[in-house]
């Protein structure tokens, strides 16, 4: 008698359990909740033009947060996101202003960002240093290097190719920049990588239990390296998007990108201890931050109070998410 094998014990999960079990549903509900509240306080909030603006404002942090998600999923943390992205804008801008071909310039800049990711990944995987320290060190090095390259000042970048990602197109009532489309494309592509390929499986496994991953024969170090390299590449693309949004290369830009991108990841439900979470949550997390900032302004909240309200709402957002999870 072997009635008790896999097959017959496998009760299909109820639809409700399935929906509530999907990790990004909590953040999504929170996002929608905030939207409803803001729409009630100010009907302009829902104007397609305003929603388009929010999307455009989310692009840079949204894309940086993709790389940050990858790194955090491996139980790391990346404090150099902003610096690497600025590296891309400055190098591309500088080269174009020196008369080089814009496509090559941008390509080279993205390559450099990828190389910065390679350096971080090399130190983390090769010397097994804590990612916090490695990326903090790289942040310091790049901060200095960028100021030296740009001689301390920001400079405008007027090349149409570099600014191309800022061009807009209409879609229904929405005004979308190409940058917004690229952001969504990147999310889709990296989501696919994370959820439909071996590479993604290994990323989760390493973050969840690095020793087990090593023992089953996953090349942990090489994989970690690839994660940081891909993150660097993504930061490079974010640099292009940043130039589209602000055609100005400024060594001092993106000071708050670290905190903002980590915040998006964590609000999106990904664990800072690695191995748990996902990319859709991050996108929603980034949107929550954007919606809060925009919605509070539209609600006429004094900027002095905005930090306060944002602080409270972020805590509430995550608390609601936790609760919905515990229920399921």
């Amino acid at each position: 008698m072997n009635t008790a094998t896999v097959s017959d014990a496998e009760t299909p999960r109820s639809l409700k359990a399935r929906i509530l079990g999907t990790p990004s549903v909590g953040p999504l509900l929170v996002l929608l909740g905030f939207c409803v509240i803001f729409a009630l306080t100010n009907p302009r909030f829902l104007a397609t033009h305003n929603l388009s603006i929010i999307l455009q404002q989310t692009v840079i942090i949204g894309v940086l947060a993709i790389g940050q998600t990858l790194v955090i999923l491996t139980a790391g943390i990346d404090l150099a996101v902003g610096a690497i992205c600025v590296l891309g804008t400055i190098v591309a801008g500088k080269l174009v202003n020196l008369g080089y071909d814009p496509v090559l310039s941008m390509g080279f800049a993205i390559l450099l960002c990828t190389a910065a990711g390679l350096a971080a990944g090399g130190l983390v995987s090769g010397l097994r240093l804590p990612p916090f320290i490695v990326t903090l060190g790289i942040l310091g090095i790049l901060t200095a290097a960028l100021r030296l390259i740009s001689e301390g000042g920001a400079f405008p970048v007027r090349d149409p190719f570099l600014a191309w990602t800022g061009n807009t197109m209409k879609l229904g009532g929405f005004v979308l920049t190409y940058g917004v489309l690229i952001m969504f494309t990147l999310y889709a592509a990296v989501w696919y990588l994370l959820n439909q390929t071996k590479w993604g499986r290994h990323t989760y496994a390493i973050g969840n239990n690095a020793e087990a991953a090593r023992l089953v024969g996953i090349p942990v170090r090489r994989h970690l390296l690839s994660v940081y390299v891909l993150a660097g590449l993504i930061y490079g693309i974010a640099a292009w998007l940043a130039l589209g949004r602000i055609p100005n290369a400024d060594p001092n830009a993106m000071q708050s990108a670290n905190l903002d991108s980590i915040t998006a990841v964590v609000i999106g439900g990904t664990s800072l201890f690695g191995g748990r979470g996902g990319l859709i949550g991050t996108l929603i997390g980034a949107l929550i931050v954007g919606v809060l900032r925009n919605g509070l302004t539209l609600a006429g909240i004094d900027p002095l109070w905005q930090d306060l309200v944002t602080g409270i709402l972020v805590i509430i957002a995550v608390a609601l998410d936790q609760m919905s999870r515990r229920k399921s």
Binding site: R44, I53, E151, G152, G153, A154, I246, N248, T297, P303
Partner: protein, 300 residues
């Protein structure tokens, strides 16, 4: 022994102070003295600036040029420096009390704000104003002076109903753009914009343009960086108020060199001046055009 001059700026984040440092370095090289520069990490980094001055005393600096993050934040350490025989000169921002330092070479930021506000008001004629305030870092001395000055020049008080809203930009272009976008979404009638500095103004301009409003809004600023002056020339910014970090820095270096040589100390407040730069002058307000501005601007 080599003369060492210390320079402690607010941050390396703000191009104004970067240019000030570069000017000081150039001048020091000219005079054959050694300049050691330090900066705070962020607007409000009193601890970083105090530590910098302490380190410079340790390093044996003859004189220290400092742009205090806030006017009362470092009185003790300045006293310590002066007691150690170090000449201390405040650049750009005065201390409170002003005689805590040997001398102050600075612009009156409140006055600069007044110039910005007054220009905006006059240039708009009788138009009913709807104002947006793009502030820097609330609580900073300069931020407060410029903000309050603008309101005074514009002839309104804090809380006036014509103020449609405010945003915190930290003087950065990206935050200026986001703040302006959100304020425009909130109130499409905005027709006058105060900005804490020219990067914030550049961000505001981008937002105005994406809303198709760049022509109808009185966008003004303060700084006098060359990029800003060019924006005035291109009509992106209606007017800006120029300050002179080069002048402050080189005067400061000169003073320390003089002190090292002769022991003579400068004293008092030296206003390095501020000029309204615009190609559309209004009556009753003295201003210079952008051609003059481009000759005298800082940065590149």
């Amino acid at each position: 022994e080599e003369v060492i001059i210390g320079l402690v700026t607010k941050t390396e984040v703000n191009p104004f102070f970067v240019k000030m440092r570069q000017a000081a370095e150039a001048r020091a090289a000219e005079k054959g003295v050694k300049l050691i520069a330090r900066a705070g990490k962020f607007d409000g980094d009193n601890e970083g600036q105090v530590a910098a001055i302490e380190d410079l005393i340790s390093a044996g600096a003859k004189g220290i040029l400092v742009t205090p993050n806030n006017s009362s934040g470092m009185l003790d350490v300045i006293k310590k420096a002066r007691e150690a025989g170090v000449l201390v000169i405040a650049l750009d921002t005065a201390t409170d009390p002003a005689d805590a330092v040997d001398a102050t070479f600075a612009t009156d930021n409140f006055e600069a704000g007044v110039q910005q506000g007054a220009y905006a008001r006059k240039a708009m004629g009788d138009k009913q104003a709807v104002v947006a305030m793009l502030d820097g870092t609330p609580g900073g001395t300069v931020d407060t002076f410029r903000h309050d000055g603008y309101l005074k020049g514009f002839g309104i008080a804090e809380g006036d109903p014509s103020i449609a809203g405010a945003a915190i930009t930290n003087g950065a272009q990206d935050k200026g753009q986001v703040g302006m976008e959100n304020l425009l979404s909130k109130n499409g009638d905005i027709n006058a914009v105060y900005t804490i500095n020219e990067p914030a103004a550049a961000g505001a301009y981008a937002a105005l343009k994406s809303f198709g409003k760049e022509a109808d809004v009185m966008l003004t600023s303060i700084d006098g960086g060359c990029a800003g002056v060019r924006d005035v020339k291109d009509g992106k910014i209606a007017a800006t108020v120029m300050q002179f970090p080069y002048k402050m820095a080189s005067m400061g270096v000169d003073a320390v060199v003089e002190y090292a040589a002769s022991g003579k100390k400068p004293s008092g407040f030296v206003n390095t001046g501020s000029f309204l730069i615009t190609d559309k002058p209004v009556e009753g307000l003295e201003s210079k055009d952008t051609a003059w501005g481009l000759e005298n601007c800082w940065g590149d």
